[in-house]
């Protein structure tokens, strides 16, 4: 068996061609081993389906929580911006105001940068709308006079709906004018919603960071146990000349697969939660006569979850490999 043919394949060709061939051989075998290890580490995980599933679920749940919170907040934000369009100020005018006075006020409003649109609602129109919407038309017939004032519906600029001080300034300006009887604003709750959304986003982020840290630890521990289970093999491979890179590769790929699995399952979990909540949301939306519908976690969310999963899986595996694998040396 120790014949001369094929002895030391890397050095069969001498000189520059030889080193090129050797380099190509090395690169080939490196790429080869990567390809082989990707598949092998996956097969190894699938050989213990229950154990793997449990680890994947731990990672998935930890990632699904912040992802679900984020999706919920995104939906709330869409809901909020839908309402913003209707976030108008109702400016009730003095009943004795003349048509010229109305025109003058409207002109002044149109020139303000914090106002995007205005609609005039005459006393007759107001009565008409009230009659249609309230169903108290018969009661109104009992009155001699139209009790409703004329109004201007003011649509403030987006910046105003988010900023309490700007909204107050606009209201103060309106109230100071003689033509104006009263101003009804319902921006307060919208501003609260925005603050709530921001707080929620930060909570999702904080939760994500904390749980991400947890995933790192879980991953590190899982890989540490895998290393302990294969200790003998690691010793043998190191004895026969396996590099640290060769030895750690399967464990890093295991972390990679856990991450992929975790990200995918996390996405599915968020979808399940979404499907469970969608009918209820639809009912609420119907009650409020809103066309709003829940938006599920999209493709981008999947990519982000997969990316985070891979980063956390690889990171955790790396921690385990760096702190345990290199310490295993043959004696």
């Amino acid at each position: 068996m120790v014949n001369k043919v094929g002895n030391k394949p890397r050095k069969t060709i001498s000189g520059a061609r030889g080193s090129r061939a050797s380099l190509r051989h090395r690169v080939d075998s490196y790429v080869n081993h990567h390809g082989k290890t990707v598949a092998q580490s996956l097969r190894r995980l699938l050989r213990q389906p229950l154990q793997t599933l449990m680890t994947v679920l731990v990672i998935a749940i930890a990632m699904a929580l912040p992802a679900a919170l984020y999706t919920a907040i995104e939906n709330l934000r869409t809901l909020g911006s839908g309402i913003e369009l209707n976030a108008r100020m109702s400016v009730f005018l003095n009943k004795s105001l003349s048509d010229d006075g109305v025109a003058e006020l409207m002109m002044a409003l149109e020139q303000r940068p914090d106002v995007t649109a205005i609609v005039y609602l005459s006393r007759e129109r107001a009565l008409e709308e009230f009659r249609e919407a309230s169903g108290f038309g018969d009661v109104l017939l009992l009155l001699d006079d139209n009790p409703l004032p004329a109004a201007i519906l003011v649509q403030p600029a987006d910046a105003v709906t988010r900023d309490a001080a700007a909204a107050d300034a606009l209201v103060a300006w309106l109230k100071a004018r003689d033509e104006v009887d009263d101003v009804s604003v319902d921006l307060g709750w919208l501003q609260k919603l925005h603050a709530f959304i921001n707080a929620g986003k930060q909570a999702a982020m904080g939760l994500g960071v904390a749980l991400g840290f947890g995933v790192l630890l879980v991953m590190g521990n899982t890989i540490r146990m895998a290393i302990a289970n294969r200790r003998e093999e690691i010793v043998v491979v190191k004895l026969i000349g396996g590099t640290n890179g060769y030895v750690q590769r399967p464990f890093l790929y295991a972390g990679f697969w856990y991450g992929i699995g975790g990200g995918l399952v996390a996405w599915l979990l968020v979808w399940i939660a979404f499907l469970a909540m969608a009918p209820a949301a639809k009912r609420i939306a119907a009650l409020y006569q809103s066309g709003f519908s829940l938006e599920g976690p999209g493709f981008l969310t999947l990519l982000v979850l997969l990316g985070c999963g891979v980063a956390l899986g690889l990171g955790g595996a790396w921690i385990a490999v760096a702190s345990h694998l290199r310490r295993i040396e043959p004696e």
């Binding site: 014949n3 394949p9 051989h25 026969i240 590099t243």
Partner: protein, 218 residues
Amino acid sequence: MIQFDNVSKRYPSGHEALANLNFFMGEGEFAFLTGHSGAGKSTLLKMITLLERPSQGQVLINGKNLNRLHASQVPYFRRRVGVVFQNHHLLFDRTVYDNVALPLEVMGFPRADIPRRVRAALDKVDLLSKERQNPITLSTGEQQRVGIARAVVHKPKILLADEPTGNLDPDLSAEIMNLFYQFNDVGVTVLIATHDIALITPMRCRELHLRHGRLVEG
């Protein structure tokens, strides 16, 4: 091929495993390393595979000073040496074939080459018929032969063996020794550590005898 210059090994505990060791083995030489247990045989072998580093002196393999070898080069260096371990270090989670193929995979041999080389090595130790078995089902002598096949499958220039016949009866021992001679015949430098004097006497080979970490013969 193997050269020890004034090599000493002292452990932090103060125990001196080897003291001022000097010897040289040429290419294609065959030698036994003898001495009582604790005389330093294993330590000497471990220095050649860089499992231990000398506290003093230097080890040269093929002209290369191992003291100057960086940790990252150690794996590549180990590939040039085949080692047969006393407890054979076989992996019981895979077949005989996969055990023998392991060095080739570690070294990144082309995939197409691997079956031919593994079968040649298994044929040499007469275990070709058992390549699909798990080594745990084999006898001690057969397991040792699998270990030998794994040590030589990549055709190293140097073959080390630490008590390769430790647990074997005389007939099996002679069989194993015969294998080492065959490798030596084709130019492999062979160094075998053993305390089995009976094994050496009929061979009349070079003998490096260690006593309390010192070379007293060789």
